[in-house]
């Protein structure tokens, strides 16, 4: 039973961390352009300007 005292807060903390990350990504507009995000990965920024 003592294990719970440690494990529960850890589990909740991790869950909250996930929620926090989600809310942050939402706030920074990462869900505003789902289509663009999928395409942007194809950018090859190392390549010098053509």
């Amino acid at each position: 039973m003592d294990g719970l005292i440690i494990l529960l807060p850890i589990a909740l903390f991790l869950g909250l961390l996930g929620l926090g990350a989600f809310l942050w990504s939402l706030r920074s507009g990462q869900y505003d352009d789902m289509q663009g995000a999928a395409e942007r990965i194809l950018y090859d920024d190392d390549e010098p300007d053509a």
């Binding site: 939402l26 663009g36 942007r40």
Partner: protein, 735 residues
Amino acid sequence: MSDAARPLLDLTPRPDPAFFVRTTPQGASRLDLVVQDMHCAGCLRKVERGLNEIAGVEYARANLSTKRVSVRWNPALATASDIVAKVNASGFNAVPFDQKLLGAMDEGEGRDLLRALGVAGFAAANVMLLSVSVWSGLVTDMEPETRAFFYWISALIALPAIAYAGRPFFRSAWKALSHGQMNMDVPISLAVILASAMSLIQTIVNAEHVYFDASVTLLFFLLIGRYLDVQAREKACSAAQNLLGLRAAAAYLIEEDGSQRAIAVEALMPGMKLAVAAGTRLPADGEIVSGQSDIDTSLVTGESLPEIVGPGHHVFAGTMNLSSPLVMRVTARDDETLLAEIVRLMESAEQGRAGYVRIADRAARLYAPAVHICAAATLAFWLIMGAGLTTSLTYMIAVLIVTCPCALGLAVPVVQVVATGRLLRRGVLVKAADGLERLAQIDTIIFDKTGTLTFGKPSLANAADILPADMALAAALAAHSRHPLAQSLAHHASTPLDLTDIREESGMGLEALLHGETIRLGNRHFVGAEAGADHSGSEIWLRRGTSTPVCFRFTDHLRDDAAEVIAALKSRGLEVELLSGDREPAVREAAAALGITNWRAEARPDAKIARLQTLKAEGRKVAMVGDGLNDAPALRAAHVSLSPASATDISQNAADFIFQGAGLASLVEALNVSRQARRLVFENFALALLYNAVAVPLAVAGFVTPLIAAIAMSTSSITVTLNSLRLNLASRKMV
């Protein structure tokens, strides 16, 4: 094309981008552009790189979903024109986006729902984790103290999460109740609040069962449906706004000292003098002061031939100046123009549609009271039977959860999302949320002619009768004019010719020299031809020196698949009518070619509305398909309305559907999908009712705990969702 044509083409006016620039609190300038031809990663990169190269640009980000680019820059180092020019230089067509258009829509709704969804998801996962431990603990060796501890933690997670994530439902339920109405959100809110409140009491008295898990999971699933619904709507809205933004324009005011400056259309006052370049729309009603030109009035009258105007002529806002620059004096304020009158006509016409109640709301009106009576009866029954308050409450909540209109709540939005997606792939935008439902009901369809059944542009009809040499000469000369007939003729150009001394006489025609011989291209009087038989279209004459003039006849061609589409609509049991503002011969000819027996010509906007009202009084459900400004009031007055993407902005605004492409086939597709969607919605309701018919008696009898009820309810939601997805399967097979 010879050099003489170039300066004319460079006159192509664009709205002054400086007009749409806003200043951020940090003092930077901000401009949003619509770049419609941006399709891939390469385009994004080209646009963003190009903008970042400009000195002073702090931020440039392209959004591929909305096809907009947002730019922020230091106003001291660059101007709005630099920004637009840079995007255009990289091969795209950038048009400033008018932020005023955004006022109509609540942009944050989707984000709010997503945030609520995230919170509900987090709470559902964690409460479920604790609940599963408790369930296994109930059959093993969990001590009551540990269980109570778990329940308290569940309460700590679930209650704030429910209070936050449930707000969209609570708010809507409250709004309905305070207006003395019922909607789907009332039973949902009631079930969630009751389950949470009772669970809290159970936790305090340290009882064996609590139902935080059920209420949080319920919210989570419902929010998914709600989010999908809003997303589909926002997507359609932003596409429609982009189309509108493309037409944003300003007027050019001529000051006392003769200088010109851009001015907002709303700021125009009677007496102001305006310059109207060739190829632009007139910004206000007024009188011509100087200049001679052709005016395309098709927006207002539906007439396909341009009108010739000169000093003293009265002209209307929204009509297009075709051939040469004009100076006009404003006679009516922006809100008093003919255009504004049409808008007012539209607003009054809209009342005709207000009576429509969406299927889901009609179901809710019957369903919600039934649920509440059923739940209350269960509580009363078990109390009378002496079951104790806790047990009776538990049974009542089980009834509320079992009957929860989840499946009903999902039935309509899921079908709508799938149907909208399928139509979007076929180039049809669904603008009104309930447009599909209304389209499925129609029994009569009315078409406008110019621009809807036809392309709205004249094209050469007698090309076969004309000698190639005459054709080449006429086409080469026609390339120097903006007149729609000439522009259409110019497409037939083959070899460049050495034309000199080209001049255009407004409203008459073009004259030029070819190897010393005078060439004239224009109307019958201009070339001195004799009057011939009148035909439904329009004509241009060519005269080489003193030889016999050659006639080029034009007609506004029907869209390629128009006849097929009309036949297909008839075979689906619809009555087809043609209602046009154009002259009678042209309308009669089109109606005959399409096999439409019921047609009317020279119908003004108010006549169109009158016809719609007659049909409505006969109990018909009418769909209107039109594109012109003169159709806009009728589009609003009809039961449901569709517009091609080439339509005027006001018509697109008024229409429920916008279809793209050169053909009309997407109309039949939209009708098919809407009818299929309607069938699926009813199937879904039947599924949900069937499930209730089995589960409710069990719940009333007390055989179902809230947990089992929640699981059963989710199963019915999944069944309904899967059923809706069949609409997509059907479209895959067809492709």
